[in-house]
């Protein structure tokens, strides 16, 4: 679906080129295979914090974004549990500047104290803005913390608490850089008005001399199977109760993930989905409901969440939810749902074609999972999963002992 060519440099950097010669723009997207799952207790949030430091200075570039803005470019980045992704958009004629900048910060980031201290403050404000100064803002912390006992998915990417951000040392960030920001731990995607031969030449020129890390990654503890339902009740000054019920599901490429994904398509996708219809439109307990899988590379979560109508409790909501889930497990779902899901998936593929940056990120993400072609292969695989396989996984996943529940209760 997305045309591309790929090659690998001697130092292990995986380079993917997507030519779109009608475009005057180029996108340079670099994915580092490090996320919050590579963190340890006491130093949580470091992957995301480090993303901020990458916009400081490197040996030959005093300020990353000024150097990029000077050639008409702009940039941003995000970090999640599994990886960190940086992207630049700039006029295609200035492609080489992006190579200069990205290679310099991979090769010799300076990690100055001033940058570290200012970004520490900025990230603490980000933590407050997104997770503390919002009604229900800490719910990601609560659900992950309850559902996972040993896996680092137990804290969100921003970090477990502000104290961890306060405590990072210069040595921590330097070690993090040396360990993870190496060419053999990265995927570079160049897309837009660019030619593969030029990209190849520029990649060799700018990234070729950066030594490989050859660093063995620390093992990430695998979450043991959950054997008993977990419950936590919290109170906050919010206008109504909210319910979060999560179940463990397989990782993105593991057996059963696509079935889990299909369960949420049936249960939670769109206004015609089972939950929306039974709980929101026909019910009076839920004001809104959501159902999705986190889609992480290690085993993730199937999330059911909702806000209650005023005066209705989270406990009542769970009962209503369980009833609908129970009926689903008992009766399955009509065949027409599959036609709907396939049409939705096809439309999704078509939407993905619209934005150049979306195509670039897709290539990087599926290359991270193992191969750019997984994008289309997973689509095909999902289309051919029969109903009985979905239902047998549903029975496997949607068990009380596999669930964790947060009753997020209103003080009012």
């Amino acid at each position: 679906m997305i045309n591309y060519q790929q090659f690998t440099l001697d130092n292990g950097l995986n380079v993917i080129v997507h030519e779109d010669l009608g475009s005057q723009i180029a996108v340079v997207n670099i994915l580092y295979k490090v996320g919050s799952k590579n963190e340890v207790r006491g130093k949580t949030g470091l992957a995301h914090f480090f993303e901020h430091l990458m916009f400081g200075s490197s040996k030959n570039v005093p300020v990353f974004d000024t150097a990029l803005e000077r050639v008409g470019g702009s940039c941003n980045a995000f970090t999640n549990t599994d990886y960190t992704n940086y992207y630049i958009t700039l006029p295609a004629v200035n492609l080489e500047t992006a190579f200069w900048l990205e290679s310099d910060r991979m090769f010799q980031l300076t990690l100055q104290e001033k940058t570290i201290e200012t970004q520490r403050k900025v990230v603490i404000e980000e933590y407050k803005q997104r997770y503390l100064n919002q009604p229900y803002g800490n719910v990601l912390h609560l659900t992950r913390g309850l559902a996972y006992d040993v896996h680092p998915y137990q804290w969100p990417t921003i970090g477990r608490d502000i104290q961890d951000i306060v405590d990072y040392t210069q040595a921590d960030v330097e070690a993090f850089y040396r360990t993870h920001y190496r060419p053999d731990n990265a995927i570079l995607v160049v897309a837009g008005g660019v030619k593969t031969a030029d990209v190849q030449r520029l990649a060799e020129k700018w990234f070729g001399e950066i030594p490989a890390g050859n660093i063995k990654k620390a093992d990430i503890p695998r979450e043991p199977s959950q054997t008993k339902k977990k419950i936590k009740t919290v109170y906050a000054d919010v206008p109504s109760d909210a319910l979060y019920k999560v179940y463990h599901v397989p990782g993105k490429l593991e057996e059963g993930f696509l079935q889990a994904d299909l369960i949420t398509d049936v249960m939670g996708f769109g206004k015609s989905s089972i939950l929306e219809r039974q709980l929101v439109q026909k019910g009076h307990v839920f004001s809104s409901v959501e159902n999705y899988v986190t889609g992480t590379s290690d085993p993730g979560l199937m999330v059911f969440s909702g806000k209650m109508e005023k005066g209705q409790t989270a406990e009542q909501a769970e009962e209503a939810l369980d009833k609908v889930v129970g009926a689903f497990l008992q009766n399955g779902f009509p065949d027409q749902f599959l036609e709907k899901i396939n049409n939705q998936a096809e439309a999704g593929l078509a939407y993905d074609q619209i934005q150049l940056i979306g195509r670039a990120m897709n290539l990087a993400y599926f290359a991270y999972l193992g191969h750019p072609d997984l994008y289309i292969r997973e689509f095909e695989r999902k289309k051919n999963i029969p109903i009985d396989s979905i239902m047998s996984w549903a029975k496997n996943i949607l068990k009380e002992e596999n669930s964790s529940v947060i009753y997020y209760k209103s003080n009012n």
Binding site: I25, S74, T97, N133, N343, Q344, Q353, I354, Q355, L356
Partner: protein, 422 residues
């Protein structure tokens, strides 16, 4: 050995490739502007109508909102459930949006199913019945959402800002609170739907649209009864500087808004003001961002922006900041305003600004979907598509002096509205 200290050579783009939309008039006079993009198998159609909010009573402010929300909740021949099943099955989406001056009803569909979903989409526009039960649920949902928003300092500061800027008695300045939802009645929606909604509609279309689709649109939307109600001209004037402060004890941050009214985008001072705003707070390398975030670390983000209205634009600075430093941030914002008015802009900074803006402009025209949306925004404010070429020419040629002068002329702190919540 590669000399990494040498930045690669670069060029700054001096033209944008604009795909001018074709336009066709439907029998009822609705213009359809479209950019065919055969390689994308999606079709997006936006129907834009002029809001005639002016004559709505303050307590009925939610009528347009609920009218749009309820379009998919039942027609003469289909229930809410049947409509949801239908659109979801064909992976088509109906979404609506509501702004100060325009309302939108949009249809997104694959090319494969467009002709099948279009007739049902038409039903929403002509045969909606606004059932009571669905309306009651929507009202409860909206009311809860407003209560949740009330707890957000940024949301509340934006509401107070609107009120101070446009006035509590003007539709733009009304604060949305949960209690106002209660007064909305089914009859209000029907009246609005029948008499006000289809006001000067225009259609913007892109994706793989061919003759067949254009003809179907003509057939199905060409007989809609449309109106032409002109909105009452609004004139906004800046009032003497005043601050509205609302304390929120349990809040861990404070939200700041500062702003004033400025000239509309048809005015000769608009382009210099737009460039000046970018320098001050319109991009990551801007002075506010460099000072308050990158130097002092008092915020995760601070920006300034220009909002567009037909009679005038408005300018605003926004940030969520460390509570203890909110006064300092106010002082620093004012300091940056004064610096722009009185100090020369360093050559380096000027070059970065110019080049950044040129590149950014270029990147905003990279797909037909972006192209039609840029076209829509200038077209609706009465300008032509050449506006963007003029923007680029201005970016490449403006003088440092122009920026200083426009700042002096329009950024007068004695006429700013200040909001602080938290």
């Amino acid at each position: 050995m590669l000399d990494r200290s040498q930045a690669p050579a670069f060029q700054i783009p001096d033209s944008i490739q604009l795909l001018h939309p074709e336009v066709r008039l439907l029998p009822n006079g609705i213009p359809v502007h479209f950019i065919p993009t055969p390689e994308i198998q999606i079709i997006r159609m936006e129907i834009c109508v002029s809001a005639s909010l002016d004559n709505l009573l303050v307590e009925k402010r939610f009528i347009p909102f609920f009218t749009l929300e309820m379009l998919v909740e039942g027609t003469k021949t289909k229930s809410s459930e049947e409509i949801a099943d239908f659109f979801d099955t064909y992976a088509a989406e109906v979404d609506t949006s509501i702004g100060f001056e325009f309302l939108q009803i949009n249809l997104t569909s694959t090319k494969k199913h467009f002709l099948k979903v279009l007739p049902v989409f038409r039903e929403l526009l002509t045969d909606a019945v606004f059932p009571e039960q669905e309306l009651a649920k929507k009202k409860r949902q909206k009311s809860l959402q407003l209560s949740v928003n009330r707890g957000k300092t940024s949301y509340w500061a934006s509401q107070l800002f609107k009120r101070e800027m446009f006035g509590a008695d003007h539709p733009f300045g009304q604060i949305s609170v949960a209690e106002d939802v209660d007064s909305v009645q089914r009859e209000d929606l029907i009246r609005y739907y029948e008499n006000h909604l289809w006001n000067k509609p225009q259609i913007f279309l892109t994706g793989n649209v061919g003759n067949e689709e254009i003809e179907a649109i003509g057939e199905l939307l060409g007989d809609l009864t449309v109106r032409s109600i002109s909105p009452v001209e609004s004139k906004f004037v800046n009032k003497p500087n005043h601050r509205v402060y609302e304390e929120k004890k349990d809040s861990v941050q404070s939200t700041i808004r500062i702003g004033c009214h400025v000239v509309p985008n048809s005015h000769p001072d608009h382009l210099p003001f737009w460039v000046m705003n970018t320098l001050l707070g319109g991009y990551f390398g801007s002075r506010l961002s460099k000072n308050i975030r990158e130097d002092k670390g008092h915020t995760y983000g601070i920006y300034s922006a220009v909002g567009s209205l037909s009679s005038s634009d408005y300018w605003m600075v926004a940030a969520d900041v460390i509570k203890a430093h909110s006064e300092e941030v106010f002082i620093e914002i004012y300091r940056e305003v004064e610096r722009i008015k009185h100090e020369p802009i360093p050559t380096d900074e000027l070059e970065t600004l110019r080049n950044y803006m040129a590149g950014k402009l270029l990147s905003q025209f990279n797909s037909s979907f972006e192209m039609i949306s840029r076209f829509k925004s200038v077209h609706l404010s009465g300008l032509d598509f050449g506006y963007y070429q003029r923007q680029l020419e201005y970016i490449l040629s403006f003088k440092e002096n122009d920026i200083r002068n426009v700042a002096k002329k329009y950024l007068d702190p004695s006429k700013f509205v200040e909001i602080l919540v938290g």
